[in-house]
């Protein structure tokens, strides 16, 4: 006798409703795209799908309706908790804004193909699944679901060489990093005998206390997973692809990618390390990987911020700045390995990711707005005098720049406040000091953008006003300011996000 197939209720399917809707919607649209000639409608339907999914995700996060039960789903593969919900929201908002800022850009650069929006939705689904993975195999699959559409999107501007180079580089290095991840997963499986994070964490602690061989397997596995995910989030020294890929990809893709890849990557990072592998070595008082991550964070902060100073092209500047911001989230991740701080560190990372999503997509959207049709016009000289010609655009860019610097009343400050607070909680004061010093350094290159727009005179030639892109900018700028003025919104959202099973 076969056991009865599980029912929807057994699988707790409804808990995964946002991501299910998004993936189904994208799949149907993939077929329907063939029959829709005006690509405006593809964009509009994609936005509608993302919107529906976002509404459900918000209901789940806000506990307004009972949609599925919190807890595991799909027999332990999927985890639906507050952490999942927040990741969903951030990924979906990124996707929605990504669609808004893409439409006119694609139209004027003759790239308006329907699959663009569909790929964008699939990668958002990938990021959402990464945040809800409760199993290492899920992490791998959802990582691929996140990455492969992004490889294609960055090359969508073929036959332009920069775009092709960008896609090729991203694909090769991405595939390379995936193999690290798989190998790491295999080793962890070999040591712990399970892929389920909840089981690994139980076994891992006993292994690390007893058997040497298995302990090393586990540690090497954890290390390789760190390398694999480190590639995705652009942590130094695994960041080499970032500047070229960010610069070569079409700007709206970069905007979207810079946010969603980080959201997915860090969500998985937090799940694996904080939930699955908080292994404490004999006599140690924090997880074994805390020191490694501290070093990664320090390198990332230093390299990202120092190299960004020298950049002349805005896209490249923002690429290095996004490396630097990975460093700040790595601070939170490192703090997550200290017993008792795991949850507040995960919350800090979520707050930072939410703040960063609005700000960074907004900054790239401004670059998309000023970029010319032949993908030039994104240098420091091209924004001179922008404040006179397009005061609101320049104003929005200033908001984003101050937010990235971490000036209060913007979301960026709230993110930094949470991250440094977690670091102080965990007793990582030296890293926190490095964090604030590098953000003082970063003030220079962000302020440089502002002074080029406001203090220098020049005849910035910019494309005409673009309606949908503007609405995307309004949302990002308003989001940046609202999260900065009313930080309790984020605080309420992440308050119940909890990752650490063992305390």
């Amino acid at each position: 006798m076969f056991p009865a197939p599980p029912t929807f209720e057994d699988l707790n399917v409804w808990a995964a409703l946002p991501v299910i809707i998004l993936s189904l919607w994208a799949s149907v649209l993939l077929v329907a795209d063939r029959f829709i000639n005006n690509k405006f409608y593809v964009a509009a339907y994609s936005l509608l799908g993302v919107g529906i999914s976002l509404v459900i995700a918000l209901f789940q996060a806000g506990d307004l309706f009972d949609i599925g039960e919190s807890g595991t789903a799909f027999e332990g593969m999927f985890m639906a908790d507050q952490f999942t919900y927040v990741v969903n929201i951030v990924a979906l908002i990124s996707a929605a804004i990504g669609i808004l800022i893409s439409y006119e850009y694609l139209e004027r650069t003759k790239l308006d193909r329907g699959e663009y929006y569909i790929l964008l939705m699939f990668s958002a689904a990938g990021a959402m699944l990464m945040g809800s993975s409760n199993n290492l195999s899920m992490i791998f699959i959802s990582l691929e679901l996140l990455s492969i559409p992004l490889y294609i999107l960055s090359g969508i501007r073929r036959p332009q060489e920069e775009s092709e180079e960008s896609a090729m580089k991203y694909f090769l290095l991405g595939a390379f990093s995936s193999s690290f991840l798989v190998y790491g997963i295999a080793l962890v499986f070999g040591a712990a005998g399970s892929l389920d994070l909840g089981e690994i964490v139980v076994v891992a602690q006993t292994i690390s206390e007893q058997e040497a061989t298995q302990r090393y397997l586990l540690l090497i596995g954890a290390g390789l997973i760190t390398v694999g995910l480190g590639f995705k989030v652009a942590a130094v020294p695994f960041h080499m692809w970032t500047p070229d890929v960010y610069q070569g990809a079409p700007t709206p893709v970069t905007a979207y990618m810079s946010s969603v890849a980080k959201v997915g990557g860090f969500a998985a990072f937090l799940r694996v390390l904080v939930t699955g592998l908080p292994i404490i070595a004999e006599g140690g008082d924090a997880a074994v990987w805390v020191d490694t991550l501290q070093i990664l964070a320090a390198l990332t902060l230093l390299l990202g911020n120092l190299v960004a100073i020298m950049q002349y092209d805005l896209k490249r500047l923002l690429a290095y700045s996004s490396i630097a911001h990975a460093g700040y989230i790595l601070i939170a991740l490192a703090a997550g390995g200290v017993p008792g701080v795991g949850d507040s560190a995960a919350q800090a990372a979520l707050v930072y990711l939410a703040a960063y999503a609005f700000t960074n997509i907004g900054a790239f959207a401004v670059v998309a707005a000023i970029e010319k049709d032949d993908s030039t016009g994104t240098t420091m000289d091209d924004i001179k005098g922008l404040a006179v010609k397009r005061p609101w655009l320049a104003g929005a860019m200033s908001v984003f720049m101050f937010s990235l610097t971490g000036i209060p009343l913007t979301a960026g400050f709230i993110g930094k406040f949470w991250v440094f607070r977690a670091a102080m909680d965990a007793g990582l004061e030296p890293l926190a000091v490095l964090g604030v010093l590098t953000s003082a350094i970063s003030a220079f290159y962000y302020v440089r953008v502002v002074w080029n727009m406001y203090f220098e005179t020049g005849d910035a030639v910019v494309p005409e006003r673009q309606q949908y892109l503007t609405s995307g900018l309004v949302i990002t700028a308003a989001g940046t300011l609202i999260l900065g003025l009313l930080p309790f919104i984020l605080e309420n959202l992440v308050r119940d996000a909890s990752l650490a099973i063992l305390r």
């Binding site: 000036i407 209060p408 102080m424 004061e429 003030a443 203090f455």
Partner: protein
């Protein structure tokens, strides 16, 4: 620990009334430049009226009062908590008093992007008042950092037209000054953020009053080393803002390049954010470290007094002279604070107000000259008294007040500070002696400048036509100067009410410091 929410306080009205103006300027569809100026002036005057109302309700027998508490980020123990005591109320009054003068000072000087300029002006007022009234460390830090942004834009966009040589490349001096100002202050204040986080995490609240109670009752104690580190974390941020020698190098650039209103606000109020922070946070939270560091900081203050005066004397540019004189004057304030006794701190608080009025006045005068003559070089003038007698009369009063002539406000403040430092348990008598030399030097550079610019025969042909002040022609300049002069005489001749209102707050602080000192000396 929890705080109860309270009703709306008058302090919030003072704090947010300029925000109304900001929103009007941002979103009102069409406004002529003149309407913008008038609207801003009315807005700042209304704010001043609110602050007068607040002053009239002030009860000198109580400490912190007119508090307002509202939940903000409940999970982290962060509140919107504002209130005033005898120390902060004078600085709020100074701010709301200086702002209309800054608006009048830019009446004709600012001709481009008038609306944006006045928006920044009002935003700056919110930030500055916010620093003085916030009673929550998180809130305080927000206002503290936000005050940078409008000033950065004001210097960078409306600053002077000078050029500087920047590593072999010619660069606009205003951009250099704006960026230097921004980076210097960000770098300083960001370490304070860590110190705030540390204190907040330890106390499990960011509320100033709660933390103060925890510390006074001995429930929140830091080790000696931690306390020193935290003290330094706060001190560097404040010292850059004051600025304490040798962290002053941003000041001459920023003051000289800023438009007149910017210089007035920088000298008048923005520098006081630093000295206020020293009194409010360094002395209150870390008295042991303050006692340990007092001799060194006192030494820096005295060096600043003499250095600032000395360098002022050497200037050929009037505005630079006034800028460096601020370094000297603020040295007195810091000296008074770290004398750590009642006279020292009361003198310091009063001197903050005095310096705001008199140096703000000097920058206003320089701005008027510059608008008429388009130069600030001392040797371009001479004999102005013959051409502009009314202007020169005001200049004499304000210059003498800055110099510390008895009967005017500067004397009261400096004298009280010196009384305090002479009787201080933390500072040696030599500090007082050397600081007194600073007063003499101040007389030298001020009188030297006054002599060159106003006295003697008219040497330059261009100066013959300069326009004096009249109610009909330039009421805005005249009224600003009249207001400043009235305050100068009031404080100079009858300082008693000013000290009386401070008594409660300063007495409370000094009682705590004394107790710590007694323990330290045993």
């Amino acid at each position: 620990m929890q705080l109860e929410n309270t009703g709306v306080s008058i302090v919030s009205a003072v704090l947010f009334s300029p925000l109304v103006g900001v929103l009007v300027l941002l979103f009102w569809p069409r406004l002529t430049d003149k309407q913008v100026r008038i609207a801003t002036l009315i807005n700042t005057l209304v704010t001043f009226a609110f602050s007068l109302l607040m002053l009239s309700q002030f009860d000198s027998s109580k400490g912190m009062q007119m508090e307002q508490v509202d939940e903000w980020i409940a999970g982290l123990g962060i509140y919107y908590h504002v209130g005033v005591d005898g120390i902060s109320i004078w600085l709020v009054m100074l701010t709301t008093f200086i702002m209309p003068i800054a608006v009048l000072a830019s009446w004709t000087g600012i001709e481009e992007k008038v609306r944006l300029f006045h928006g920044f002006l009002l935003l700056l007022e919110v930030a500055m008042v916010g620093v003085f009234v916030s009673l929550d460390l998180f809130l305080f830090y927000i206002f503290w950092e936000v005050s940078l942004v409008p000033m950065y834009f004001m210097i960078g966009m409306w600053g002077s037209k000078d050029k500087v040589d920047f590593f072999g490349r010619e660069m606009e001096a205003r951009i250099y000054a704006a960026v230097k100002f921004f980076l210097y202050t960000v770098a300083g204040s960001i370490l304070m953020l860590l110190a705030i986080l540390y204190v907040g995490n330890k106390a499990e609240t960011f509320d100033f009053m709660l933390i103060r109670d925890l510390m006074r009752s001995g429930q929140l104690v830091f080790t000696e080393e931690t306390e020193r580190l935290l003290f330094v974390g706060f001190f560097i941020a404040f010292a850059i803002k004051v600025p304490v020698w040798p962290l002053h190098s941003w000041l001459p650039d920023a003051h000289v390049q800023a438009p007149t209103a910017g210089s007035i606000i920088l000298a008048g109020v923005l520098l006081k954010l630093g000295t206020y922070g020293l009194v409010r946070y360094n002395l209150e939270f870390f008295p042991n470290a303050a006692i340990d560091f007092a001799p060194y900081i006192g030494a820096l203050a005295v060096i600043g007094i003499i250095y600032g005066a000395w360098v002022s004397y050497a200037q050929t540019d009037v505005k630079k002279l006034v800028a460096y004189s601020s370094v000297s004057h603020l040295g007195f304030v810091v000296l008074g604070i770290f004398a750590m006794n009642s006279a020292g701190i009361q003198g310091a608080v009063l001197q903050m107000v005095n310096h705001g009025v008199s140096t703000g006045g000097l920058f206003l005068l320089v701005g008027m000259l510059y608008e008429r003559r388009h130069t600030k070089a001392i040797n371009a003038f001479g004999g102005l008294w013959k051409i502009m007698p009314i202007y020169s009369g005001f200049a004499l009063v304000i210059a003498l007040s800055s110099m510390g002539l008895p009967g005017l406000n500067g004397f009261v403040g400096e004298f009280t500070i010196l009384v305090g430092s002479a009787g201080s348990d933390t500072l040696d008598i030599w500090y007082t002696v050397l600081a007194t030399i600073g007063i003499i030097l101040a007389a030298v550079y001020i009188l030297f400048m006054f002599n060159k610019v106003f006295m003697g025969p008219v040497t330059k042909q261009e100066n013959q036509e300069l326009e004096d002040l009249t109610w009909g022609g330039n009421w805005y300049e005249l009224s600003a100067l009249v207001a400043l002069t009235v305050v100068i005489f009031v404080i100079g001749l009858y300082p008693k009410p000013f000290f009386e209102l401070m008594d409660g707050a300063v007495g409370d602080l000094v009682a705590q410091l004394d107790a710590t000192l007694q323990v330290a000396m045993k």
